[in-house]
């Protein structure tokens, strides 16, 4: 952490019943602000704080955190960190028990919170055994059991699949609609919640830089949001593109259906004159096979198969996205590629090496793995040593190490940070460093596990562009596990969809998205908003990236009345 203040001159009033979406790039001070709301700052997290925060009229500096907990509930990013007990009911009772309430009152509150969030069926479930979305719902219910008037959620959907994300959004909407609870949600992605929020606050470098209704801000400050590196919903981007063509709209659209009807109006007046050349998936059918799964089955516990009958060929130079709900077997598949797991039945062959027969050291020279949490894989005292580490272990001569480390650090744009301790790098930089460590030793295949987690648009696109460059210039095979459907068509030329440990769809990204959109939706996977939007407009071809939509707009004419 530097000497720069995390919050600067923040003046903010939130009224009862408001649904506030707090957005901003990484490190803009959003989470710090949230921790000021419930008194964790300055009561638990020490630092220098001037000014006052009042919650329901109580000054947080002078009020105990446990007293504030009855006014304001907080849900943190990681579902596992939010839950303390093993049984859902115990978790909900934890807060009221801490307050020393009578058993009758505890029971009443537990019942109320279960009903408010709609988790009746989870009452006696084990907290660790429920899905990510359900965990967040339990965490919300647990906060509600304290009967707070305000609920603050810090990136509650970051690690969740689209279905769970939707579940959390539905619960939050229900809470504002029925209980008039004030809600503050910190988010990088505005998609799911923007249509529910009544107010959007954008922060940058510790300051509030934008504050207003979502329609106002997204309608008039689009450029600024882009400059800040925020991921603006695709339906908003679409609305901006057509407004730039002079199309007048009564109200700026926020929801998919609003944008759809607006688009229909636009194409009536601006018909498509000529079909543009849209992006095509690059065909790598002639490249040699580098990853081969032959009838692979895998079980962790001999009770349920995490992979079932997986047959897969991935060729050198492909950029493959693997999608699926939480627990569908994506990470298990990836761990088989790098040799961390070996099939219970069947074979995994990596560049001609059967993972069950060769030492994992041979596989890791071919395949690099970038973990979801890059902190796990960095363990030396400097960025330079981190990259040199693998080469030194392989016995590469010093001159060659110097040359390769310089080259790799330059590729990931971290050469200026070569003497820094990896722990003090930003999350985006840590990920780039993890890529560098893999590139230094294994340049043929790179696996990325959930690269979008907790990253703003600028950092995420920086990383993905780097990988795209490696893929195109060095023919590196990239396998990316993700929940983020919008980045898939932009970067991956092949899409693999997993469900219950099986590969249920596999093909060129654009083709799968165009031809199987209904199947994807039936599997509760959410295709990109632009795909869902254009599939509803009869006069234009279905597109999956904003670049392609831009081409369509450019090829539209004007009907003179």
């Amino acid at each position: 952490m530097g000497d720069e203040p995390s919050l600067v001159d923040v003046n903010l009033r939130i009224r009862k019943g408001e649904f506030v979406l707090l957005a901003g790039p990484s490190g803009s001070g959003k989470s710090t602000l949230c921790k000021c709301f419930n008194g964790l700052i300055p009561n638990f997290i020490k630092g220098s704080m001037s000014g006052d925060v009042f919650i329901d009229g109580l000054n947080t500096k002078q009020t105990k955190v446990y007293h504030l907990a009855e006014h304001i509930g907080m849900v943190f990013q990681n579902p596992e960190d939010n839950i303390f007990s093993l049984v859902v009911e115990d978790e909900l009772a934890f807060g009221p028990e801490n307050l020393g309430l009578a058993k009758q009152e505890i029971m009443k509150r537990v019942e109320q919170s279960i009903r408010s969030v709609g988790i009746e069926e989870l009452r006696n479930s084990m907290t660790y055994a429920v899905s990510g979305g359900q965990k967040q719902k339990v965490a919300i219910a647990s906060s509600l059991a304290m009967l707070p008037g305000i609920l603050v959620l810090d990136e509650p959907t970051t690690d969740l699949d689209p279905v769970s994300e939707e579940e959390v959004a539905t619960v939050l909407k229900k809470l504002t609609d029925t209980l008039n609870i004030t809600i503050v949600v910190v988010e990088h992605e505005l998609d799911e919640l923007i249509s529910i929020a009544s107010r959007l606050i954008v922060m940058d470098q510790g300051r509030i830089v934008l504050d207003g209704t979502p329609r106002e801000i997204l309608g008039s400050c689009y450029e600024k949001l882009n400059l800040l590196g925020l991921r603006v919903p695709q339906c908003v981007e679409v609305a901006h593109m057509i407004s730039e063509r002079g199309f007048k709209m009564r109200e700026f659209p926020l929801k998919l259906n609003e944008t759809t009807s607006m688009l229909r109006g636009f194409f009536e007046k601006h018909p498509l004159l000529m079909k543009p050349v849209l992006s095509q998936d690059e065909c790598k059918a002639t490249n040699p096979i580098i990853i081969n799964f032959k009838d692979v089955w895998f079980t962790y516990d001999e009770e349920k198969y995490a992979l079932q009958n997986v047959n897969l060929d991935i060729r050198q130079g492909e950029f493959v996205a693997v999608i699926g709900q939480n627990g569908s077997g994506k990470s298990t598949l990836a761990k088989h590629i790098v040799g961390l797991l070996r099939p219970t039945k069947g074979k995994v062959i990596i560049d001609g090496n059967d993972t069950t027969k060769v030492d994992i050291g041979i596989i890791t020279k071919i395949v690099g793995y970038i973990f979801q949490n890059p902190e796990n894989q960095l363990f030396t005292p400097s960025t330079w040593e981190e990259v040199a580490f693998g080469l030194q272990r392989e016995g590469v001569i010093e001159d060659e190490i110097q040359k390769r480390v310089t080259q790799v650090l330059n590729t990931v744009k971290l050469l200026n940070y070569k003497d820094r301790h990896p722990a003090i790098l930003s999350r985006g930089e840590k990920r780039r460093l993890a890529v560098a460590t893999a590139l230094a030793t294994a340049s043929k295949v790179l696996i990325l596990d959930e690269p979008t987690t907790g990253q703003d648009r600028t950092t995420l696109y920086g990383l993905l562009s780097l990988l795209s460059r490696l893929n195109k210039e060095h023919n590196t095979t990239i396998v990316m596990i993700t929940h983020d459907m919008e980045i898939v068509p932009e970067f991956a030329d092949r899409l693999i969809v997993m469900k219950d440990g099986q590969v249920v769809l596999d093909g060129p990204t654009m083709k799968v998205l165009s031809e199987k959109i209904d199947l994807l939706r039936s599997m509760r996977l959410k295709p990109p908003a632009i795909s869902r939007l254009t599939t509803q407009i009869n006069d234009i071809p279905m597109v999956h990236t904003m670049d392609d939509f831009k081409k369509i707009i450019e090829y539209c004419g004007v009907v003179h009345e």
């Binding site: 638990f44 955190v65 446990y66 960190d81 801490n98 020393g100 660790y128 793995y369 796990n376 030793t441």
Partner: protein, 277 residues
């Protein structure tokens, strides 16, 4: 969550065995009386009976060995190391001046029967309670344990410290597994003593950092749920002493009484009785 962590939690979840149903306070009493009984003997044969007792509990509590395998292995490695080290060194200390029975020589080092007996005693004195502790962890809901402690007047800070430690246990498994996977991917191998040391040395920083981060997050979470009020008075699920608990109390008292009688009155178990030489 890692499969090891899940298996650990699954064990607690299986409330099908009689030992799962025993109140955590009584399990604690069982551990204490067992620990004392085990500790007062320095006779490997008698301590083997205590080991048998734990094995019977482990089987009847339906704790599968493979579910606690990593922890069990760690304990076993430690105990075997102690036994071997003592076998070569302890004999001289025990019977200075009297001839020792040498089993075999390794250069200037001599493994003696007396040292081996002493090593076994040491290992079982340490290993038996650790094994029972492992069964305790695998069959006890940490929240219920903390609540039970509060009921018997243990200060809430201590109950909470225990609860946090037990809550962090499965999370640390996961972090350790992730770090170990990351090391393997980066070419760090754990083969041999040197390899294991290297792996451990490199894991310390990410493990420490991640554990600290998780511990802090959990700390903040509980604070947001008014833990600081420390008003624990009544609980949704109140720990209650039932019939099985009374049976266990009687068993614990009997075990301690018999052990004290055998050791102090009959004078058995103060030295190894079996010597083939």
């Amino acid at each position: 969550m890692s499969s090891t962590a899940l298996r650990y939690l699954d064990n607690i979840n299986k409330k099908t065995s009689w030992y799962h149903r025993v109140d955590p306070r009584i399990k604690l009493l069982h551990m204490i009386t067992f620990g004392i009984s085990n500790m007062i003997f320095i006779e490997p044969l008698i301590q083997s009976i205590f080991l048998l007792h734990s094995i019977i509990i482990c089987i009847s509590a339906r704790v599968r060995l493979r579910d606690i395998w990593p922890q069990l292995m760690a304990i076993l490695v430690m105990l075997v190391s102690i036994t071997i080290a003592q076998s070569f060194t302890a004999g001289m200390a025990i019977q200075a001046g009297t001839p020792l029975h040498v089993i075999f020589k390794l250069g200037s080092l001599e493994m003696t029967w007396e040292g081996l007996s002493f090593g076994l005693v040491r290992s079982l004195r340490i290993g038996n309670p650790l094994f029972l502790g492992l069964i305790f962890l695998s069959t006890t809901d940490p929240t219920m344990f903390a609540k039970s402690l509060t009921k018997i007047g243990v200060p809430i800070e201590i109950s909470f410290m225990l609860l946090s430690a037990l809550r962090l246990f499965p999370l640390l498994f996961k972090i350790a597994q992730d770090v170990s996977d990351a090391q393997t991917v980066r070419g760090v191998r754990g083969g041999g003593i040197r390899g294991s040391y290297e792996k451990l040395r490199l894991a310390i920083f990410p493990l420490f950092l991640n554990s600290l981060h998780r511990a802090r997050s959990i700390g903040l979470t509980v604070e947001c749920k008014a833990f600081g009020a420390r008003g624990w008075n009544e609980f949704l699920r109140d720990p209650r002493i039932e019939r099985i608990d009374y049976i266990m109390i009687v068993f614990c008292i009997c075990m301690l009484a018999v052990s004290l009688y055998v050791r102090l009155v009959l004078g058995i178990g103060w030295a190894p009785t079996f010597n083939p030489y």
